[in-house]
C-alpha cells in the first residue's frame, strides 16, 4: 500500500493545553477504505474527529492528508482540501432549509467541481420531499442524511463522521450504514462509532480507542473471524 490518504501520526489533542484528551494516537485511512474507530464513552473518539477536522487544539503530532501537512490548518481550509467532517451534534443548520443546507456544502468544493443535489437524492431518496422544509423540524435520521448529503456536495476525498447512528432507530441506522457501504467504493471514510456491530458490516479496519490511546488496530475480517478479538471491541459497546 502506498501512502495513506489520511495519516494521523502520534497526535495529541484536547480542549485545554496540558490536558490532552487524545494522546499519541496514530490512525491511517487508505484510498476507498472505511476505518471505524470504536471505544467507550469518554475514550476521546469525538475529540480525535474534531482534532482531524481542525476544531480543537492540536498540541503535538501531525495530521497528513492528501500529501499535505494539515495539522495547523483552520477548519475551512481542511474542508476545502477535501476532508468533509460531519459532527455528531448540531450537524445541520436548523434555520436553513434542507436545500440551503445541501447547497452550502458546495462552499468546500474548492477546485473539485462538487456534486449535484441529484447525487444526494439518489443516495437518500427520502430527502426529495423535504427540500423546502427547515432542517430544524426534521427527525434525527433525516438530519443525519442532510448532514452527510451536505458533506458530499463538495465531492470530498474523505468523509469524517462522528457517530452518525447515535440516537437513531436500528432501521434508520442500518439505512445510514448501507449508504456508507455504497459511498466507500468511491471515497475514503473515517467513522467514529459506538455501534460496533452495525459499523462492522461495512468497515475494512477497526481501531479501538481507550482513554485517549489506541488499544487495538486490526483488519475487520480478522475481527469477524476471531471471537476473542471481537469481544474486546464489543466490550466497548454500551449495553
Amino acid at each position: 500500500m502506498g501512502e495513506a490518504l489520511l495519516a494521523v501520526e502520534a497526535l495529541r489533542a484536547g480542549y485545554v493545553a496540558g490536558q490532552p484528551v487524545v494522546d499519541d494516537v496514530s490512525v491511517a485511512v487508505g484510498q476507498a477504505e472505511l476505518v471505524a474507530v470504536f471505544g467507550p464513552n469518554g475514550a476521546g473518539k469525538s475529540t480525535l474527529a474534531k482534532a482531524v477536522a481542525g476544531t480543537v487544539g492540536r498540541f503535538a503530532g501531525r495530521v497528513r492528508f492528501a500529501g499535505a501537512d494539515i495539522t495547523g490548518w483552520p477548519p475551512w481550509r481542511i474542508a476545502q482540501a477535501g476532508l468533509a467532517y460531519v459532527p455528531q451534534r448540531d450537524n445541520v443548520f436548523a434555520a436553513l432549509t434542507v436545500r440551503e443546507n445541501l447547497d452550502l456544502g458546495m462552499a468546500a468544493r474548492a477546485g473539485r467541481g462538487g456534486a449535484g443535489v441529484d447525487m444526494v437524492l439518489a443516495l437518500f431518496p427520502g430527502l426529495a420531499s423535504s427540500l423546502h422544509r427547515r432542517a430544524g423540524v426534521l427527525s434525527g435520521g433525516t438530519r443525519q442524511m442532510v448532514a452527510i448529503g451536505r458533506a458530499l456536495r463538495a465531492a470530498p476525498l474523505l468523509l469524517l463522521l462522528d457517530e452518525p447512528t447515535a440516537g437513531l432507530s436500528p432501521l434508520v441506522a442500518g439505512e445510514v450504514m448501507a449508504a456508507l457501504g455504497t459511498l466507500k467504493r468511491k471515497l475514503s471514510i473515517l467513522l467514529v462509532e459506538q455501534n460496533v456491530s452495525a459499523a462492522l458490516t461495512v468497515a475494512d479496519r477497526a481501531v479501538l480507542l481507550v482513554d485517549g490511546r489506541v488499544r487495538r488496530d486490526t483488519g475487520a475480517a480478522a475481527l469477524r473471524s476471531d471471537p476473542a478479538l471481537a469481544q474486546a471491541f464489543l466490550g466497548a459497546e454500551p449495553a
Binding site: T55, Q80, D90, A95
Partner: protein, 298 residues
C-alpha cells in the same frame, strides 16, 4: 393635526429604520445587542460632515454629497471592524454574553468621548440651505398638511429601499445564506468550508455601511452632536425588538410603530414623555409576544 402627526411619525420612523438596520444585521449575525451601535452612526455623521467639508474646500460643491456618503460609510465600517478585531471578536468566540454587551457599551462611550475631543461638544451642521417643505400630494386639499422637504422624502425612500436590499441580500443571495449559517453555528459553518473570519468581517463592514448611511441621514436632516447616534440607540433597539429580532422587514415595521408612537406623544402634548414610549413599546411587545411582532418563535 392627524396628518401632520402621521407624516412626522413616518419621517422619524424612517430615520429610526436607517439606524436600526445595521443593528438588526449585527444582531442577526453575531447574536448580541451592540450597544456601541449608536456611536457607529455618530461616527458616520461626523465623517459625512468632514467629507462634505473636504469637497467644499476643494471648490467641488457638486461632490459634497458623494464625498459625505463615501466618508460616512468608510469611517463607520472602519470603526465597526476595529471594534470587532480589537475587542468583540475574542469575547464573542468565548460566548461571554454579558461581557460582550459591557464591552460594546464601553466602546460606545470611548468613541463618543473621542468625538468630543476631536470635534468639540457643540452641535455642527452641514450648512445646507434651508429648504421649504412642500405638500406630498399637492392636488389633495385635505392632505395639505402632509409636507416634507426633498431631503426628508429621500430619507423615507432610502429607508424602505435599504430595508429591501438587506432583506434580499440575507434571504435570497448565497452570501446571505452563508451569513445565516455563520450566525447559527460558526463551528459547523467552518467545517462546511465557509471562511468564517472573512464572512464576519464582511458582516461588520455591511453593518458599518448601514451606520454610515444613517449618519449621513442625520446630517442631512439637521445638526448633529457627539450624542446624536447614542440617543438613537434605545429607540432603534426598541424597533428591532418590537419588529422581531433578526427580521429585517419587522425592523422597518417596528421603526415606523415607534416613530408614530413618539410623534403621537409629542403632538398630543406629552413631548417630555417621548423617551418613555420606546421602553413601553419594548415591555408591551415582549410581554405579549416575546419573539417580537414579526419574529419567529425560537
Amino acid at each position: 393635526m392627524l396628518t401632520k402627526l402621521i407624516v412626522d411619525g413616518v419621517l422619524l420612523g424612517a430615520v429610526l429604520c436607517m439606524a436600526s438596520l445595521g443593528l438588526s444585521l449585527s444582531y442577526a449575525v453575531f447574536r448580541f445587542p451592540n450597544f456601541a451601535h449608536g456611536e457607529f452612526v455618530t461616527v458616520g455623521a461626523y465623517a459625512a460632515l468632514a467629507g462634505a467639508d473636504l469637497a467644499g474646500q476643494s471648490q467641488r460643491p457638486e461632490l459634497a454629497l458623494p464625498a459625505a456618503m463615501v466618508a460616512a460609510i468608510l469611517a463607520a465600517a472602519a470603526v465597526a471592524l476595529a471594534a470587532d478585531r480589537l475587542v468583540l471578536r475574542r469575547l464573542l468566540a468565548r460566548r461571554q454574553g454579558a461581557a460582550v454587551i459591557i464591552a460594546a457599551f464601553a466602546i460606545g462611550l470611548l468613541v463618543r468621548n473621542v468625538l468630543v475631543l476631536l470635534a468639540g461638544p457643540a452641535e455642527q451642521d452641514a450648512g445646507l440651505p434651508l429648504e421649504i417643505a412642500t405638500p406630498i400630494l399637492p392636488g389633495v386639499a385635505a392632505l395639505s398638511a402632509a409636507r416634507l422637504t426633498v431631503v426628508e422624502r429621500a430619507v423615507v425612500i432610502a429607508a424602505v429601499l435599504l430595508m429591501l436590499v438587506l432583506q434580499l441580500l440575507l434571504r435570497r443571495s448565497r452570501f446571505g445564506r452563508d451569513l445565516r449559517a455563520v450566525a447559527e453555528n460558526p463551528d459547523l459553518a467552518g467545517a462546511c468550508g465557509l471562511v468564517v473570519p472573512r464572512l464576519r468581517a464582511v458582516a461588520w463592514g455591511l453593518t458599518g455601511m448601514f451606520c454610515g448611511l444613517a449618519g449621513l441621514a442625520l446630517v442631512l436632516l439637521g445638526p448633529v452632536r457627539p450624542e446624536s447616534g447614542g440617543e438613537l440607540l434605545l429607540p432603534a433597539l426598541a424597533a428591532v425588538i418590537v419588529g422581531g429580532l433578526g427580521s429585517i422587514g419587522g425592523t422597518l415595521a417596528g421603526a415606523m410603530l415607534i416613530g408614530l408612537a413618539e410623534s403621537a406623544t409629542v403632538h398630543l402634548g406629552f413631548a417630555e414623555w417621548r423617551q418613555v414610549v420606546s421602553f413601553l413599546a419594548i415591555l408591551l411587545v415582549l410581554g405579549a409576544r416575546p419573539q417580537g411582532l414579526f419574529g419567529r418563535a425560537a
